[in-house]
Symmetry: C2
Subunit: 213 residues, 2 copies
DNA sequence: TAATTTGTTGACCTTTCGGTTAACAAGTTT
DNA sequence: AAACTTGTTAACCGAAAGGTCAACAAATTA
């Protein structure tokens, strides 16, 4: 009755999934206002009324989409201790962030659009998740600084610098590509970006780029 | 007949100005899709038909708004030579960028929204203005690097790093403020941001923060 | 299998969208 | 002041927006 799902529950999950995927795609492409419920329904290949059966309003659907992607966006820097080498940890984190941004630029842009709009739905997420997470990371950074392992910088701004420089390649892709005179990123670009960004940030806090990874 | 304006020309300029200001405000607040022509008309306190008399379509108005703000956004780094001290020049540039971002966060966000949407209107601007400008700056940076004045980094990525870290405080203001547990930026925040960002970027390319400014 | 819950969907609702039109007012030119 | 150009604006247009509803189909439960 709840563990082994019956036909209805299967269909329910399948349809909700289809709709969420379509909504994610369209919100990411066109933004909240630019994507319409009928476009989403068409993309999911279900009638519009069905979309509104599962998600009671556009807001509700948008929130569900954000909930789903927000988890992906805050990976990294778990299980790190003061004993670890900050150069290696930060390098890996930056590399991961750039990989995520370039592999899922649309999700990054959806996230960015939401924050630019004033983060009406993510505000509470920032308060309840990001802020406590940052407190831990701050303690970690201060530990490294006190141990003389890295220069003293405000950990908040260091994190902002990492986030901004990495996400930039997804959010401002349209500008970056024109400037670089490219149609799309290649693997070699990802390496160069990782290299340049890591070099600036790591040197920026008095660390040396680790050899290879 | 064209130097000293008659009544019609005065009214024309005044109304176009009112509408442009209202459009700028609303596009910045709500984005292209989020702002409607009637909202803009209401804000400008003119009938909607009047808005469409001066600007033949929403696209046309949006373009006019972008044209007006784009000039503001590309200041700095003019009249700089290889003889100048890169630490001072870059520090001033970063400081200016942060000042601009925090004083005009809405313009920064409007710019960001446009680029996130794929820069349909700014693409040609990037091609015709930003790219040549960057070429000059690239030469300057390489000059400094060859003279041993700063570390070797790809100038493109260095510029991206400066733009991203500075604009972040405007575009992602909603997130930054929650994390910093503030309602709005204070003067002291601007100083701290300038300090932290400059420190990371300058050290990142092997430069020392100049004392004071 | 009868009764009931849950899912499906076309038709429809109101509101708002970007945009047009046409009649009129105001200014400018002759 | 007549002729003409330019600016103003209420009324209106079709399309599309988000959302509701009611009739029906399909499972599930009793």
């Amino acid at each position: 009755m709840s563990l082994n799902l019956n036909k209805k529950e299967v269909a329910r999950n399948k349809n909700k999934g289809l709709i969420l995927a379509a909504a994610e795609k369209l919100f990411a492409q066109a933004g909240y206002d630019g994507a319409s419920m009928s476009m989403i329904a068409r993309e999911a290949e279900v009638p519009k009324a069905n979309v509104l059966y599962y998600f009671k309003s556009k807001d509700n659907l948008y929130e569900a989409v954000l909930d789903r992607i927000v988890g992906v966006w805050n990976l990294g820097l778990e299980n790190v201790t003061i004993e670890d080498d900050p150069a290696i940890i930060l390098y890996r984190y930056i590399k991961l962030k750039i990989k995520l941004a370039i592999e899922n630029p649309k999700l990054s842009r959806l996230f960015a659009s939401e924050v630019i709009r004033g983060a009406p739905y993510l505000q509470s997420y920032f308060r309840n998740n990001t802020r406590p997470w940052i407190k831990e990371v701050t303690a970690l950074f201060y530990g490294w600084m006190d141990a003389g392992k890295m220069n003293k910088v405000d950990p908040n701004h260091l994190l902002f610098a990492i986030w901004s420089t990495t996400q930039y390649y997804a959010d401002f892709q349209a500008e970056v590509l024109v400037v670089l005179n490219k149609l799309e990123y290649e693997d070699s670009d990802v390496d160069e970006i990782t290299q340049s960004v890591s070099q600036i940030i790591l040197n920026g806090v008095g660390l040396k780029l680790p050899e290879l990874d």
